[in-house]
Amino acid sequence: MATNQTNTNTVSFPEHLVCDAPNDMVKRESTLGNLKYLVVGVMFGIVFVKAEIISWFRIQEMFRLHSFHMYGVIGSAVVVGMISVFLIKKFNIKTLAGETVQFHPKKFMRGQIYGGLLFGLGWGITGACPGPLFAQIGSGYVAVIVTLLSAIAGTWTYGLLKDRLPN
């Protein structure tokens, strides 16, 4: 069965590596196994709320250069992420399942500029990138469900128009 699954996974997904958060684990995981990502998500959501990153006001402060908070959060997150990735590569640290950690070099595409600018405009209006959207809804800001649905519609529209856009 395992070989079967590997086969179906590797065929026919040329887009796969374009995905920004690919699953590179060779072994399939059960629903129970997937619960660990839910737990990591819960921790992440708690940090989002407690550091007030989900706040529309914090995003306003950031883009008005009135507070260092968001720059400190993103900057220190990147530094910790960089050191972690460096250590994983240097000592060839394996995953829990004993696999080699996979990294994907990203290719430059014009979409990173056009799409990046559009996302930035949306970030300035909604005060949320995709992660905080989920945390805002969990925090009881029910109206944000509309924002999330619209973001899903935006993603869908991109998929529809993809081949007609400069990528």
């Binding site: 920004d20 958060a21 993103i74 960089m82 996302f119 300035g124």
Partner: protein, 190 residues
Amino acid sequence: MELIELIKKPWPWYVAGPLIGLTVPTLLLIGNKSFGISSSLRHICAACFPANISFFKYDWKKEIWNLFFVVGVLVGGFLATQFLENPDDFVISEKTIAALRELGIQDFKGLMPADLFALENILSLKGFIFFVFGGFLVGFGTRWAGGCTSGHAIMGLSTLQLPSLIATCCFMIGGFVMVQVLLPFIFKLF
């Protein structure tokens, strides 16, 4: 001070940032997963309405961890708000308050201004701009850019990728243009 009291206070950047950064090795080491959140929106499209669009024809079930992750973020938001709520007043920069007052924002009590995020705004022009239009830009833009603040700014920069640096700069430029240049015009509509 008791630990729980300390946890209930807003967390400073030097606590929150490193914790967010640690998500990168945590996901890599527990399951060889690259950190990224906007991809969950794509998986939802692929799972619910693929509509025969090639961009949504892939094995989304293989990526289902990403959906578990974002459901976790939602639950985490709920738990933090219900059980770890900050007992003190929410503090915003005085300069930001002054600038937003000028635009017509009056509520500075919570994390989100009720002037914009109240439920009854959903069907108004305000709701259309702040939820529908803004949300659409977030979903369309992140997918076109191939990632968001997590996939590009955190995961991409952690792995020293130039395209992610370019994308992150564009996110910031877009945000500055919206807040500094366009928002005053948008608020004139109400």
